[in-house]
């Protein structure tokens, strides 16, 4: 695994973290973001201050429309905030050029989307290889490496399948392999279980918790699916563009009270 240790900004190491080696992956100060103007103006984010740490699965939860996706997009460097500062591993996103930010995303961030966003013309292995191809790997090497990652998450028999030949859960696994193949330091997932049934959703979350979370990587999952809240170790509750409550819990022992009333 080729994590670029030397690129880490030592200043970003958290002094408040309660676990050794945990560092601040995302630092947000006074972030605001609105959409539209006049009557249509929506204040999606209101002066958010927040830190996200490596080594744990962080969740952003809250009702639909409260700004979760907007916050995640700003963190992932695909959307600009109006005010405030966002830095990822000590690198201020707002001060980067568009091109530099695109490069930064390519090496440091893995994406998992609700709608998978696999390229329909590529096989599972080829889809999972895309971040390596972006990084300049040769096709055969990239596909070989992606196949290994897929095999490690139980998709070894589906390497040559096209997305149309896979189930939703399988597609999301390919997407997770794609998000991890280039060893990013930050993984962002927007509603990764929303298109899946309950059981598949649980499997996908387990996979994220077990395969994605590492001491040197931060994983952020946005969800309004209370059936998967139990996987969060640190949960930010959002409402109306604000983080209204932060919750810290031991992820290894999800308590029954975390489950939705439906269960």
């Amino acid at each position: 695994m080729r994590v670029a240790e030397e690129r880490r900004a030592p200043a970003a190491v958290a002094t408040t973290g309660d676990e050794a080696g945990v560092e601040v992956a995302v630092r947000i100060r006074g972030l605001g973001k609105h959409f539209g103007t006049g009557e249509q103006r929506v204040q999606a984010l209101r002066s958010i201050d927040w830190d996200v740490f490596t080594g744990q699965l962080t969740m952003i939860v809250g009702p639909s429309g409260c700004g979760k996706t907007t916050l995640l997009s700003v963190i992932a460097g695909i959307l600009d905030g109006d005010e405030g500062e966002v830095s990822i591993f000590g690198e201020p996103l707002d001060r980067m050029s568009d091109r530099a930010r695109t490069r930064f995303r390519a090496t440091n961030i893995g994406f998992v989307f609700q709608q998978y966003n696999l390229l329909p013309a590529l096989t599972a292995a080829e889809n999972a290889a895309i971040p390596l191809v972006i990084a300049g790997w040769r096709r055969d090497q990239a596909v070989r490496r992606a196949s290994e990652v897929l095999a490690s998450i139980g998709m070894g028999k589906k390497l040559a399948n096209l997305p149309s030949q896979l189930s939703g859960g399988q597609m999301q696994r390919v997407a997770i392999a794609r998000a991890l193949v280039h060893e990013p330091r930050l993984l962002v997932c927007d509603e990764p279980t929303a298109a899946l049934d309950h059981e598949t959703g649980q499997t996908v979350m387990q996979l994220l918790r077990d395969a994605a979370v590492r001491p040197d990587r931060a994983v952020i999952v946005v969800t309004h699916d209370n059936r998967v809240f139990q996987f969060g170790e640190r949960i930010a509750h959002m409402d109306d563009g604000r983080i209204v409550r932060l919750e810290q819990r031991a992820a290894s022992k999800p308590s029954l009270s975390d489950f939705s009333p439906l269960l």
Binding site: T69, T102, R103, F113, P131, I134
Partner: protein
């Protein structure tokens, strides 16, 4: 990223075939319409281009096009020969004559056939202006020097021999025309014998063309005092024909043009006074527009349908430059494929209609023009769509 772009392109077979077919149709339309237009242009100036071998045409200064014949004094021929840079100069007669074929000769007909023809009288010794050997279908050009000998053109020969079984041309090809050799005609009460049949470009002149020698043309033509219609001249090597033409104009006061200038004068004349090139030009241009619109629309749709995929790639860190590169590569591949097939079909079409009434001529220049149009329109339409991808907030991938 190139292989990903190509896989995106061919991934959906039906869609891929759709794009290629759209572009094929566009290329076919552009080439075919262009060829018809060029064929038509050739018809307007066919009478000039059929007379080969001369660098310069010299004529009365008021002549505007090939059928605008204004006879000159014979002495002008010698004046042209005296101009510096002129290697040789020969006379050409061009005029109308009336052919009569008596009933005994015009087989199976009671009444005599009487037809207006275009009579061309070529220089007796050099035969400059005669059709090139590959256009001779029957007979031998040398025989034109025999007494009473004439060549006739194959295109309009049916007007002279309407009772011949013309359906056999297709079956027999060139050999069909041998039957006309040694047949007799009458022009201006003078006997003429067909010694050869040659191809001629179809023109807007529907009259048959009869070739003979300059001296004999004097007998066949209705009595005129002056019969020198044009002087055909060759220029000395190393001297620009245009310069020599200028000299001839200056020294003799005659009109002098290079063969291609004279062809263009004729085209322009037709453009000005008949509107045929303009009208057909507009039709062909519309065909061109329809073709490019189809090509552009097809490719634009393809890219727009893939916009979410491009958004995902962008979020994952593909730079705009590379996305543009991917889309251009896709455009280039489908563009060239569609071009190849389309031009192939257009050539097939031209080949199938060869020798028919359809004016169809594909100058080589039309092929790069079509290629450029197709690739240009693919690139343009993909850039139109790509700018949506470039301005696209990658955040759409979360929607």
């Amino acid at each position: 990223m190139g292989w990903i772009a190509l896989k995106m392109l061919v991934g959906d077979r039906a869609k891929f075939l759709g794009i290629v077919m759209g572009l094929t149709f566009a290329a076919l339309l552009i080439t075919q319409q262009g060829s018809i237009f060029c064929g038509l242009m050739l018809r307007t100036c066919g009478q000039v281009s059929d007379i080969t071998g001369a660098d310069l045409w010299v004529m009365d200064p008021t002549v505007r096009y090939i059928d605008d014949v204004k006879p000159m004094l014979e002495s002008n021929l010698y004046r042209v020969r005296g101009v510096e840079g002129v290697l040789w100069a020969v006379p050409l007669y061009k005029g109308q004559a009336r052919v009569k074929i008596s009933p005994e000769v015009a087989r199976g007909r009671r009444a005599a056939v009487i037809e207006q023809v275009i009579l061309l009288g070529l220089d007796d010794s050099s035969l400059i202006g005669a059709p090139p050997p590959y256009r001779v279908l029957a007979g031998n050009l040398r025989d034109l020097r025999l007494p009473d000998a004439v060549f006739v053109d194959s295109e309009r020969l049916a007007k002279l021999y309407p009772s011949e079984d013309w359906t056999r041309v297709k079956k027999e090809g060139k050999t069909f025309y041998r039957r006309f050799l040694r047949r007799q005609l009458e022009m201006n009460d003078h006997r003429a014998v067909i010694v050869g049949v040659c191809e001629a470009t179809r023109t807007f002149q529907t009259n048959p063309v009869v070739y003979t020698t300059y001296t004999r043309a004097k007998n066949y033509a209705p009595q005129e005092r002056k019969i020198l219609s044009f002087v055909l001249a060759g220029t000395e090597p190393g001297v620009s024909p245009k310069v020599v033409a200028d000299r001839i104009r200056a020294q003799t006061g005659l009109g002098a043009h290079t063969a291609s200038d004279f062809a263009w004068m004729t085209i322009n004349y037709y453009a000005r006074y008949t509107g045929i090139p303009i009208n057909f030009g507009i039709t062909c241009f519309l065909g061109f527009l329809v073709g490019t619109a189809i090509a552009g629309q097809t490719f634009y749709n393809f890219t727009i349908e893939n916009i979410k995929q491009f958004g995902a790639l962008k979020a994952m860190g593909v730079t705009n430059v590379r996305i543009v590169g991917m889309i251009l590569l896709q455009a280039l591949v489908v563009g060239l494929l569609g071009y190849g097939i389309g031009v192939g079909l257009a050539a097939l079409f031209g080949w199938a209609t060869q020798g028919g009434e359809l004016a169809y001529f594909t100058p080589w220049l039309l092929l790069p023009i079509t290629a450029c149009s197709i690739v240009f329109i693919c690139v343009l339409s993909s850039l139109l769509s790509v700018q949506r991808v470039i301005r696209l907030e990658p955040a759409i991938v979360f929607r």
